[in-house]
Amino acid sequence: MIVFDHVTKYYETSDGENLALDDMSLHIKKGEFVFVLGHSGAGKSTFLKMILREEVPTKGNVYVAGLDLVHMKKRDVPYLRRRMGVVFQDFRLIPTMTAYENVAFAMRVTNIPEEEIRVRVPYALSLVGLKEKADRLPEELSGGEQQRVALARAVVHSPKLIIADEPTGNIDPELSKEMMELLQAINNVGPTVVVVTHEHELVQEFDKRVITIEHGKIVSDTGSPEDAGQPGETAIPDGEEALL
């Protein structure tokens, strides 16, 4: 699903070049649940920006769902993003839209017919337990509720890849566990889930693959538990199918 092939990223700053990712290679398979763990400044944000095609590598290649992101045209980027659902730490809900409209928006951008929106949005909101609050504006919801609306928006169009950027960063510890369980439940029905976090304790509660980043490099990769304790796969498989 996600392949980083010797990815290096420098940012131009007033002090010269700042190295954000240093020859990073990894392979996240279809249907995996992966934690990407790292402190602030480790390179997590750049890692995410690469997947969202907000940035392109200085060197190396990034593939998502079989698409070559380095050579992708700008006008094709929206179509890449429609294949994924993203949950941000700060929720990023449109403040003037109700919970329903925020979730529906992710479907409207893909030209999904209104009849289908009317069925799937309430379903997505009921999955996160917010069907009753569909007509509330974001400011009328608690932090945890806003994060669940963001999750409903991320899954409503049935993406194959869910990216969660510090999804528990702005909510209570009890709600954090609930959020992670929701993400696990979503992963169980198929989509690949990548959770980027700095919360070591949270990661330890789940028996999942953990990729740890420091100074733009992968310093450890536990590999998938299903792979019976083998080291994480960082080699680049051949063929386009392997990318999917």
Binding site: P78, V86, F88, P95, T96, A106, R108, V109
Partner: protein, 302 residues
């Protein structure tokens, strides 16, 4: 883009006017003020132009006829004068009329002095000619002189030159003022729109992350900008033309000399509204719509 998506985005644009009421108010307010100022400058310039036109048209060119013309020849001169292009008024004054005019200038006790001329009238019959455009007065004067049976032509050439120059200055100053105001309006409005779009950059950013294409994001902003523009054009038209109508309606209350001057030269609202309203609408829709598109561009690169 599907028709249903298009309708949704247009609705979103209109809806945004209400949900971002403070920013809408600021944009419409700024745009309206700019339009009103530009409109006032335009109407002022048009009226000064009309006033000068009116004053200029009061200057008559006098065409003196040869004393020995018979009725038939006089009629031929009459036809020739009326056939000159640019002539707006022709009035025949016989030599008897001239004499009686002069008699009227004298007080009664001396009026008898003119009686001596009753049988030997020294004056010449003449035509009083007014012209439409003062610029044409030299050409018309030359054409009048060339008519057979015309003795001489007395045209207020120096006076008309002054009027033409004043009118040119006023016209260019008017256009210049309108142009300067329009440029100021473009700068102020584009800044206002830039601020409103900047305030919503996060919203645009979110749209990009859920996979909205640039066209999908632009359309509601474009519709919103155009709608705000149309509302501004409507308000500005009501203020400028309504105010102007009230002024022209009450110009009758102005005392004495100014009343007769204004009543002849004020351009009626019926002669300007069809220029002002489309100009306001076109300018504000262009500013609102295109301004939004230009301002949004830098936020789309995510």
């Amino acid at each position: 883009m599907k028709w249903s998506s298009f309708k949704y985005l247009v609705r979103q644009g209109i809806h945004s006017l209400g949900t971002h009421s403070m920013m809408t108010f600021a944009s419409i307010g700024v745009l309206t003020v700019c339009l009103v100022l530009t409109g006032i400058a335009y109407l002022f310039s048009v009226n000064v132009d009309s006033l000068i036109d009116y004053l200029g048209s009061q200057n008559e060119t006098v065409v003196y006829l040869s004393p020995d013309l018979n009725e038939e020849q006089t009629a031929a001169v009459d036809t020739a004068i009326r056939s000159i292009s640019g002539v707006s008024g022709v009035e025949y004054v016989s030599k008897e009329d001239v004499l009686s005019t002069y008699k009227g200038y004298m007080s009664e006790q001396y009026a008898d002095l003119w009686d001596a001329f009753d049988n030997d009238n020294p004056f010449k019959a003449n035509y009083r000619v007014t012209v439409k455009e003062l610029d044409d007065i030299q050409r018309i004067s030359d054409e009048l002189s060339a008519i057979e049976g015309v003795d001489s032509v007395s045209a207020p050439l120096a006076m008309s030159n002054v009027f033409v120059q004043v009118q040119d200055v006023v016209t260019y100053a008017g256009y210049g003022l309108v142009a300067v105001l329009a440029v100021v309006a473009v700068v102020v409005i584009s800044n206002t729109i830039r601020i409103t779009v900047f305030a919503r950059r996060r919203e645009i950013n979110i749209m990009k992350y859920v996979g909205a294409t640039n066209g999908f994001i632009r359309l509601p902003f474009f519709v919103e900008g155009m709608a705000a523009g149309l509302i501004s054009a409507f308000i500005a038209s009501v203020i400028v033309l309504g105010g102007y109508w009230v002024l022209t309606y009450y110009s009758d209350l102005v005392p004495g000399f100014w009343r007769s001057l204004l009543s002849e030269s004020v351009v009626p609202v019926t002669d300007v509204w069809y220029k002002v309203v489309p100009a306001f609408a076109a300018f504000s829709v262009l500013m609102g719509g295109v301004g939004s598109l230009v301002s949004i561009r830098r936020h789309l690169d995510v």
